[in-house]
Amino acid sequence: MIFKKFNIENKKARDLIPQAITVLALLSVIIYFATNAQINMGNRGISFGFGFLNQEASFDITFSMIEYDGSHSYGRAFLVGLLNTILVSVIGIFFATIIGVVVGVSRLSDNYLIAKVAEWYVEIFRNIPLILQIFFWYFAALRALPLPENGISFYDISFLTIKGWYVPKFIWTNFNIFLLSVIAAFIAIYFINSYATKQREQFGKQLPTTTISLATLTLLPLITFLFLGVSLTFEYPVLKQLSPTVFTYAGGVSIIPELIALALALSMYTATFIAENVRAGILGVGKGQKEAAASIGLNKNQILKLVVMPQALRIIIPPTTNQYLNLTKNSSLAAAIAYPDIVLVFAGTALMQTGRAIEIISITMLTYLTLSISISIFMNWYNKKMAIKEK
């Protein structure tokens, strides 16, 4: 009798019981695997612990955004790999979005040729496995690049060769002042835009925000150059001969072909999915909206920018978030072409040198999980912001 009263009248308690059982079951599975691993590793003489992260790594990494060489620790090598993963993911996301939006909009173009080219692009690059595309860009396409002595030069300051894209190195004095001025410029632009929006909503006055923003962005940093002692010189890459037939470039910054190939492959591949999302979003906006916008005299570009896209974005953003996460995780294929991302450096070399498989794979999985969740959180915030508020 008491139980009946408990179950029917207290829904929360009723829901609590299966949840508690599930949590207990999950915990027991995890504990079982953990103790099982512990016992078996003990039997085989394999130790467990994270102390190896402080050991000397003893291997060099060809491309690193921070100071690193073999005398640093495995922990630092992990950091190098992580930064490289983030770098290629950011570059990939940036270009994939641009290409994706352009291709997506192009597919809906009235121009037959543009629409067809976009369609073919999507069909080809969507259906070939990513690993093959990566191999193609690295081995087939990049292999076509010339050796350093015959490098493709851009005005003799930048050279594209099979060993990398050599660009001038920026040598700053007082870089922090310049950075502060850029940040200050962005803050100023934000305030200018909110002021301009208030003006428009209250008085109907449209300030030329684009011009003002651009002016701020150029003027503030310029002031630092002229009056605050910021200066910039360049170190140019110079052809160097290592032997009668072997050349390379010294000086400047070298963007390794592994990074170029991976970023290209990831962008081209993910852009197809983003293009389809964009197309779906635009098609999902009611036809009446376009007709109404046309009837008040907006031209095609204005219709797209002011009426269609804001509504389409609600449909486009969630699946595109998915694609950003996919791109980040797909960057782990870097190991196939020697790009030193976290999988190659940490879950590859460090794992093979130390043998700590369980620790390293757990750390790597947690890292990808954190990266993915961060991207999701940001995109969800952006989506909420974009959502059309019912007035």
Partner: protein
Amino acid sequence: MLARNTTWTLSRDADIGLTFVGVNFYDGQGFMVRKNSGINSVNDFKNGISACTNTGTTTELNMRDFFNSKNISYEPIAFEKADEVVQAYDAGRCDTYTTDKSGLAAQRTKMSNPDEHKVLPETISKEPLGPVVRQGDAVWEDIVRWSLNTMIEAEEYGVNSSNASSLKDSENPAIKRLVGSEGELGAAFGLDNEWSLRIIEQVGNYGESYKKHIADTGILPNRGPNQLWTKGGILYVPPAR
């Protein structure tokens, strides 16, 4: 059991629950360059050279030690698979390809033009390659260790796959032990007495195996240190008795 070109190192032996049970190939790390590069020795390497190799190998670590000792700045490009290293080196992405010399010799056959490449004379490290077993199984360790030793000792006494069974009545007690007609050596591992005979008959002695897989395929016709100690090499195994 892992029988591959795995180098016997301290950290592998002690740290990850494995045991190395012998050396079946004494190798060393070397460098391969194009013949027309004008590089004739490792002393010709200059700052900025790019070197391709496999990830997670002793090669990667030795490469760093070597270039550091010569104060040369280099670009390490490490791939997961040997095929990818070959392709990148062949395309000209890297100036030199480094791995164990036996590996270099084998991979050269996969290049688009094997004659364009040469292996530099210097050997920059010791790479003793041998079979590996899991730590903790003493009997299995012994079986694998003595299987390897049997092959080498068989060559020492001139026992090979064709004459093994006919040597059962040999005058030499060492040969008789190898072919199982004397002694109860197999019982020590829980095997019957013909265990070593079967190895010699089915796989051959060390020399036959080397000839079939390494010399006749043109990879390394010269045995180098991988020759019996009685003939100038360093293959010296404990006696099977």
